[in-house]
Symmetry: C2
Subunit: 536 residues, 2 copies
């Protein structure tokens, strides 16, 4: 099947999403990563709109990009002036980007009511803008804004606008479902009409307002679109753009089109999480193909079957997109997951213990615990219930104090008194915040006995209010991710008090580390090698 | 267009989703809400699987349901026994649910390798199970598991399984894309084949593993499916089921099918948020149709146009699904949003002030602030920069202390020293956690001067670690939602210290309340009436 060009606009259209902000450094890092996977185009920004985007186009020239072409985005020239005198056109030219993407009006309503120019002037604006950049030696991609709404309202005029772009030198005309309201059949018909009307190829740019962005993109490609525009994880204004992760996975793995570089599709999970991390967004756990739950099995019936024939309950092999299978702990899961944990911990699997664990997990889940994302705490719980747990220390008390004057930075101090190995340790620590101070005091007390704690660090800290209807008096769940040079692990604590919930998760994290180093835990449970296909 | 039956399985298939847990009370509340909107069927649970589900079927009979039919879910009988002796069949009968939904195997691979029975015995299991429940006077819905994979592998056998169900008395055969891997064209072809093969109607049950659940559902309905199964918000195992919110919105608002009761579609936003709240899940802000960002406009260009012609940038009127338009504050938004805020606050709109606000917002966004969801803090900021802000009190200092012994509940105490109206107030408060204690002390100090604070309460409290790569030393963003008898408002604070971030958001919340009661703020900004269509 033919090769489809993949055009990423995470840095421009994606950054229109609510809560999305990329620093200049983030934008350069994402550009490099997209190049690594073999994307064809990256739209770096809108040079006229803000100084950060303008600087991006200078700095991106220092990257050693192998594959991706950097595109600068802008609108057609303003009315009534020469393209060469339009500030937007000049900004595009001066960006020195090898590709310029120009968006223009397709829908007659927008021409007359939003731009407030006549229909002929809009055609001239498209022709002049594409023509100017083409004459400056740039490759020009033309984005036909609102093409699908415009075609519905006035098909002749919509086709005239894209013909103007094609005739003026655009190498491809990308049909945009800007409002995201189209259905796949309409998309297919409109793509056919565009292909009949112009000589250059067409591309597709979908938004997800009807939850159909992926389907619309596939429909357009089936009807001959050669380029797919979208964003990583589908971030973008309103309901977002099409998620290139899902679009590319479907095109390559289900429909045998070619896209990205060799091995690129197998790194989509890595790319997805990288972009979430830089955008400071939470992963969407149920995201198709790359979500942490996308190949997670919970129901007892299913787990049993997955154990028998992996592909019977999975639409494709998770490794094809760099993801992996997980088996979850939960009240609905029956006994198989508990068997997996006891196997990992090399415990005898007697019926009494199984029942005790199951009931205890149900009780704790009712209190607000969730072990699905905190397998280290789950394994410690199993150890405790099996009677193979010996505490590494005893808490006598702790105290955390945050104090500030009128407008100074608060001073945060924690004291911890523990009994370790028969000795009393009473120490004080400080930190940027109360949990940081508590962590620092806890380690200070323990490090003389357990020097291996030095290699452990906290890599993420999450707080979730469980019952939000009671405001700050609600119960909170704290999840802590920790790592050392070999492993990552996740622990959980629940309390009405965020400090106590954090303490519970911190203590689990420290104990897990110590037991693990003693060879008494099952290894890295976050990456869950014991639970992947090979092990079951 | 014909009426489509809407079958909700949030309480059964939805509860298989990672992190989803419904209490018995939650399940009853959701059943009632689905009835209120005019859903046709609600699948309440799997009576054999756990005692909570069995109890649900007893308790649900006490509800006064007008429209919805309650369905009990189970599998076909086990091999080699009479249906009347099978515990699953007995549990379905004894649930007394008026409708029983039986799932059976369609894919020959699953019959021989997972169930490990021969192909004929599986047909007998389907026939006997449907027949038994039918003879007990129940309406029977048959779910054909893995129909689309089964049809691909062995079409003759797949069609035999559904014919067995239809012949034994199933009122409808629902074709399940259990693994969520099918593409719309395959779904359409397989629905056609099923309709040709059996006499009863067919339904559709999709999962979202390929990001195509909505498209597949629409394709099936277009090819004659009469019932749509799915979950609210698409919760469910792995990538979830089809989101009934999106499916119903598309079917009714874009394709003119009939579904739900009169007015039901207009309450989908309310339903979506109700289910998230009971499931203790965060809203998905970019969810099609009902997300808080679904009709939120950020880009300056767009905002300008939306101000002119609302429908030119929206695929449908947000009120049709009970949602509303929002105009967001952000560095990319240009000046129109700031103009909106200054208008709301009745400030003079001089250019110098506009620039000052814009630069300050950009600085704060770089520090980690986000005003998009915290319009009360934004309005206070504008007031401060415009010089119309007079502080309601001055902070001298605060102190928060959390202390615990070996295994007791921590004692949490906060002291606050303020200057209010020329007087020093030095008070102590306590609470379940540090923020709760701080809130309680702050109000105790202020209430003698501002008795109207008694009517204000905190309704939600969220913590987000902004830079998670540094563990507990990271910067945190705290967002607080508050309400009184008239309004809801949201405030934000950012600091390296969660206590200080909470303090900042708390103070904004209190000051917003006080200014508002003095008639000096623009009213309810969370519900944003000043920003809805009527106002712009």
């Amino acid at each position: 099947m033919p090769r489809i060009e993949i055009y990423d606009t995470t840095l421009r259209d994606g950054s229109q999403g609510e809560g999305v902000n990329f620093s200049l450094q983030d934008k350069l890092l994402i550009t490099q990563k997209l190049d690594d996977l073999g994307f064809d185009f990256v739209e770096g920004g809108y040079p006229l709109s803000n100084p950060k985007d303008a600087e991006y186009f200078q700095r991106v020239r220092d990257l050693d990009l192998k594959h991706v072409k950097v595109c600068a985005f802008g609108m057609t020239r303003r009315r009534g002036i020469d393209a060469s005198e339009d500030v937007g056109m000049v900004a595009l030219r001066d960006s020195l980007a090898p590709v310029c993407t120009v968006v223009g009006k397709t829908w007659d309503l927008h021409v007359t009511e939003v731009l407030r120019v006549d229909l002929e002037e809009n055609l001239a604006m498209i022709r002049d803008s594409v023509g100017f950049l083409f004459s400056e030696g740039r490759r020009v991609i033309y984005d036909a804004e609102h093409y699908f709404d415009g075609y519905k309202a006035n098909p002749d005029y919509a086709l005239k606008t894209i013909a103007a772009a094609a005739d003026a030198g655009a190498e491809i005309v990308v049909l945009c479902d800007t409002n995201g309201g189209s259905l796949p059949e309409h998309v297919a018909n409109c793509v056919d009409a565009a292909r009949d009307a112009i000589s250059c190829p067409v591309g597709i740019h979908c938004h997800n307002d009807s939850d159909l962005a992926t389907a619309n993109t596939l429909a357009a490609v089936e009807h001959g679109a050669k380029q797919v525009q979208g964003t990583i994880n589908g971030i973008g204004e309103r309901c977002g753009n099409v998620d290139l992760v899902a679009a590319v996975s479907n095109l390559v793995l289900k429909q045998d089109y070619e896209a990205l570089a060799d091995g690129g599709v197998g790194r989509l999970t890595e790319l997805s999480r990288y972009v979430y991390e830089l955008a400071n967004m939470n992963f969407r756990t149920n995201q198709p193909f790359v979500g942490s739950s996308a190949f997670a099995h919970k129901g007892g019936m299913h787990v049993h079957a997955v154990n028998r024939i992996a592909h019977s309950y999975e639409h494709l092999d998770p490794a094809l997109v760099g993801n992996h299978r997980r088996i979850l702990v939960s009240e609905l899961s029956g006994r198989s997951n508990i068997v997996a944990a006891t196997t990992r911990l090399q415990l005898q699997q007697d019926d009494e213990l199984m029942k005790t664990i199951l009931f205890k997990v149900q009780d704790l889940e009712n209190e607000g615990y969730q072990f699905e994302a905190a397998e280290a705490s789950f394994d410690l719980l199993v150890k405790k219930l099996a009677g193979t747990y010996e505490p590494k220390f005893e808490r006598i008390h702790y105290r955390v104090n945050v104090e500030t004057a009128s407008d100074t930075v608060p001073v945060t101090e924690a004291t911890v008194k523990l009994r370790v190995d028969g000795h009393l340790e009473h120490v004080v620590g400080e930190g940027d915040g109360p949990v940081n101070a508590l962590d620092s005091a806890l380690r200070k007390a323990l490090r003389p006995y357990y020097p291996n704690l030095s290699s452990m660090q906290l890599i993420d800290y999450k707080v979730r209010v469980i019952n939000s209807s009671e405001g700050t008096a609600a119960r909170v769940r704290v999840v802590i991710e920790s790592s050392d040079e070999n492993d990552e692990w996740t622990t959980v604590g629940v309390s009405e008090n965020v400090i106590e919930a954090s303490w519970i998760a911190l203590v689990d994290s420290v104990e897990y580390k110590l037991f693990k180093d003693d060879g008494l835990m099952g290894g890295d449970t976050t990456a869950a090698p014991a639970l992947t296909e090979e092990a079951i």
